[in-house]
Point group: C2
Chain length 649, copies 2
């Protein structure tokens, strides 16, 4: 086989990673059933359509993958995540609705429940006999889950919990499935109970299974659901609101893996600290965050594939010395618009695969063997990649839309639908700004215990009081990264910028610098006249930059590691150019910082800008391989702007 014909499949196998066969199952389903976003359907019809598509997926097996065999599943967490990720190549409404049912609702039952719950719900929720929703967010509180206002008060006289929405802001809101299809809700609420003879007190947020509709779809007594109606996208997801007016549920509907209430009202938990218990419970829900990042990534790749394919067919303005006009992708500005985003899509796809694999390994292992510190690291990494990947996807799809001009604004060409659907991914499963800040905080405190749950001021004071000043671990966790670092000059200015060691060092040094200086600024809160809130406010943008630089650094490390394992020479060469473009474009976007802090010289800065241009030119001949390797199903390309002669002359 010629290099040309093998490059695409080799690249694809790198991107597909460990669950390639699962991806292919979903790709076939997207093609066979034309699972692409639609326009012109009523909300009702769209919702019904998507529910039907979910039912058709049950026999494919992956809905069962997310559950342990002993609970009724097949125990392939990575496969479950990857399958839902791949729906990002199809219709994000379907991806979200599937994610809510099997990932969020199912995940709450699986990870927060115990045997009774598994026995009662798992089989039915896989088969869709039990349709559920995930009722965490309230109108008043989204990002701040600890402050949720819904209450679940234990009544020892009847052995029931009473679920209430005591304030306007406690209304459950934006809940996928709550408007129409869900019969059960996993409700997050403040658990209130007391042992006999004691005053009932709040024990913090716990999760309860609450039936919200009867078999005919009518609201259960005390439950009032309503419909969020039209949104910026995702028309196939029936988002709704839920109010509870003294709704009684049996005591055993508390998902009691981490805490329980005895018949007499006595509260018990294997985890003593309220804070740690709360964050342990939240931590088990990590899968939603991984899935959302992964699916957004797929949607972003789809958008880029559409725009690059269009730019490889569409001509505009006379090419000099010829009869034909120039292909859009032969314009440098057009290359600059799309190719750095393609490079970034590669880097993030690879980092995302690693997160999925780590999640799989951790969630399929014996829970007793899982190091809580490692779990917390993975949670932070999942948050980091979720924030980075969804931001990238939104940007890629917007740029893709604009790069296709008027054609890109027609729904028949999918891009506007994709743009509307992806927009909320930066918000749900954790607002990206909040997540980026969380990532930064974990870096600054090196995953210290007892930091979680501190408010801004408490957290600033904690950092200020830390004995040691922060520094990035001197030894890289990955052998390959360490080798490359050892192989490059300590002063990056003396090493070639195309050397991965230099690239790693630049991103590590930036993160290290930002983290150290952020810690130093926090320490001012120790001074006598310091206002800790002011210190926090003044450093918040610095903190965000710590988080962003961390995200970019860990993505590069994944990318470097995977390239090191690629055996085909041409594939490796192309991937290295992709990595170079990824790094050069990151550096270019943050050139002000690198120059200001003298991490690059003026001469190198100019070389970086030129380098982005040169790399765009060098990768231009591989543009079709790069996007074909995404493995986007053909059904997505059967659109007028790629098919009809009117567009392509």
């Amino acid at each position: 086989m010629s290099a040309e014909s093998t490059l695409t499949p080799y690249l694809r196998s790198v991107l597909d990673g460990r669950w390639g066969p699962t991806r292919d199952v979903v790709r076939r389903q997207i093609n066979d059933q034309a699972l692409v976003p639609q326009s012109g359907l009523s909300l009702d019809d769209y919702r019904t359509r998507v529910l039907g598509q979910m039912k058709d997926m049950v026999p494919l097996g992956f809905p069962a993958s997310g559950f342990r065999p002993e609970h009724g599943g097949t125990g392939d967490v990575g496969g479950a995540v990857t399958a839902i990720e791949t729906l990002g190549y199809g219709d994000l409404s379907l991806m979200v609705k599937a994610g809510v049912q099997w990932g969020l609702f199912g995940g709450a039952i699986e990870n927060l429940g115990t045997q009774e719950h598994h026995d009662t719900y798992v089989k039915g929720l896989i088969d869709l006999d039990v349709l559920g929703c995930f009722a965490m967010t309230e109108t008043g509180h989204g990002s701040n889950v600890q402050q949720l206002e819904t209450t679940a008060t234990y009544l020892p006289e009847t052995g029931e919990f009473e679920i209430c929405s005591p304030t306007p802001g406690s209304r459950k809101d934006y809940i996928g499935g709550a408007a129409e299809h869900a019969r059960f809700a996993a409700v997050f609420a403040q658990l209130v109970t007391g042992a006999p003879g004691e005053e009932p007190v709040s024990r913090g947020v716990h999760c309860f299974v609450v039936p919200i509709r009867d078999a005919d779809g009518a609201d259960m007594p005390g439950v009032t659901t309503s419909d969020c109606g039209y949104k910026g996208g995702l028309p196939g997801v029936d988002n709704g609101r839920i109010l509870f007016d003294r709704v009684r549920i049996p005591r055993t509907n508390l998902l009691n893996r981490y805490a329980d209430v005895a018949h007499d009202g006595t509260y018990s938990s294997p985890i003593e600290s309220d804070n740690r218990r709360f964050f342990t419970m939240l931590g088990t829900l990590i899968r939603g965050r991984v899935t959302v990042g992964a699916s957004a990534g797929a949607a972003g790749r789809l958008g880029l594939a559409l725009a690059v394919k269009y730019a490889l067919q569409r001509r505009q303005f006379q090419a000099p010395g010829g009869d034909t006009e120039m292909l859009l992708l032969d314009y440098r500005t057009h290359q600059r618009r799309l190719l750095p985003l393609v490079a970034r899509a590669y880097a993030f796809a690879i980092a995302q695969n690693e997160v999925t694999a780590e999640l799989h390994d951790m969630q399929t292992a014996d829970p007793a063997t899982v190091d809580p510190k490692e779990l917390r690291r993975l949670e932070t990494k999942a948050a980091a990649i979720k924030a980075g990947h969804t931001t990238l996807a939104q940007r890629a799809i917007s740029e893709a839309r604009e790069a296709c001009g008027g054609a890109g604004y027609m729904s028949e060409n999918l891009l506007p639908l994709l743009r509307g659907d992806i927009d909320v991914f930066t918000t749900f499963e954790g607002d990206n700004l909040v997540l980026t800040q969380l990532v930064a905080k974990e870096q600054l405190t090196a995953y210290a215990d007892d930091v979680q749950g501190l408010d801004a001021v408490g957290w600033v004071r904690f950092v200020a009081s830390m004995a040691t000043s922060y520094a990035l671990e001197k030894t890289a966790a990955r052998q390959v990264v360490q080798t490359l670092l050892d192989d490059s000059d300590e002063d990056p200015e003396n090493s070639a910028l195309t050397h991965p060691g230099t690239q790693l060092r630049l991103l590590r040094n930036r993160e290290d610098h930002l983290t150290r200086t952020a810690a130093a600024r926090m320490r001012r809160a120790k001074e006598d006249d310091a206002d800790a809130l002011e210190v926090f406010t003044e450093t918040q943008d610095h903190l965000i930059k710590v988080g962003e630089s961390h995200i970019e650094r860990i993505v590069l490390e994944s990318f470097v590691e995977v390239i090191g394992r690629v055996e085909d020479r041409e594939t490796r060469t192309v991937l290295k150019q992709v990595r170079n473009l990824f790094v050069y474009s990151l550096l270019e976007e943050d050139l002000g910082w690198f120059l200001m802090h003298r991490h690059v010289s003026v001469e190198r800065a100019k070389a970086i800008r030129r380098g982005v241009n040169d790399l765009c030119g060098e990768l231009r001949p591989y543009a079709h391989n790069l996007v074909d390797a995404f493995g986007v199903p053909d059904a997505c390309f059967d659109i007028p702007m790629l098919r009809d002669e009117a567009f392509t002359g």
Copy 2:
């Protein structure tokens, strides 16, 4: 009156500018008729609704403003533009449909037609008895109007033109009104004719009035219209496609102000050069570009007003030492997200007002007194502000949506509808990248004649051959700018960064530097072995940066001039802080460039970053004044996220 109570109206009168009363007429209409975007209507219902809203606007008078009194109008071009701009505070579907009818179709008749056309169409098109569309763009060619493929061949035997769509790409596409409502089209086509005894030849693109539907709405013989269907937004605009199969129209349907065909087929024009004629005709259509920039600006301000008002009510995460949670706008990251965009919205609104006023003065003057060079400068300025303002609006609305979290994704809160509607503004009436490049080219060749219409290579060769090297005019066109420059140190590093002279100098120096170096790179095309296309490709991103830096410089100059005329002291003080934030945030975004080319020192760079933070903090107490002064109609604020207690606690 206290300063607090006068600040908002003073700021508002600055933003409202010369056509304040017209703005108020439209604001009242938006309130009275609740002209805000809707969701859940069918395309048919939405289109009918918008057409009805247009009819209700006829008695308000501004539809007649855009036409000269001698043609049947009232001759207030600025009022016409400002009225349609203000619809950007309402429903952009209505704005676009009104803009197409009165601005584009009406503008073609008004500016390219002669008395017979004015007598035949103007009154009816004001009253909506004559519904028209503007059939310029084709599927194959959007940005490149000179290459349109529709033909209009003159047939001397019958004294008719025959309009044809000879290729798949020649289909008229995305034409607002073509799907359903328009009965007439202003069709841009290659005019083909020959004098008696000569071969017919193509004379370039001209504009023709073509009836496309009969009174019952059926396609005229030879005309085939179709519907673009669903788009990323603007559901009330019936965009469609038109194909012409040998459609005959009378000779007099050529809009013949700049060229005519005699009965025997002889072609004549007062403008000899085909190129100059083409660009003169295009130039008269400048009003569409001005209106699109202005309306996008209004929509952007609306988006920012929604997000800032939400951030002033919505609390999240515990405020230290208190029972309440913190307002979103008290977070530095939230301020940084919104306030620099508010500052930019001020700067662009003011520059936009100036363009509208200049357009008004030029289009209401005796045509014989208009200097063609000044007209061309205004065309370039309109292109610059269109590109800058629409890009800003898109960014502002996206940021506003995200800053409102889940609430921002609900259609009932308007932001997602606004986001879908605004998205195409960066594309229509000139793709922003193409326009920015045009702006840069005009800077590089100082509006030289004979440059228009050159292809990339021809243009590079022209620049290369220019005798003089470019330099920004040493004397500023505005007296106030010159005075401020004189009043500041030649080395900006020695002048306070809050001094407007320093700010102007930094932006002027950047533009000057970029333009000179771009010209120097072009001159390499003179070298023997130079490939002019390669030179063009290699410098295209540089060229775009010239255009962007020009846009920011002229916007600052407008802003500075207007601030200089503000008499109320507090208003002036606040506006100066807004200007500072505008400039600091521009500098921060391009810090890499300023450092790399040693236009700012490392110390100053750090001061800029700190300065953005400080200015955000200083403007925080005025945030409500700043957005109230936009004068957004109350109807836009009657939405759940601003009204319901569930959101604001």
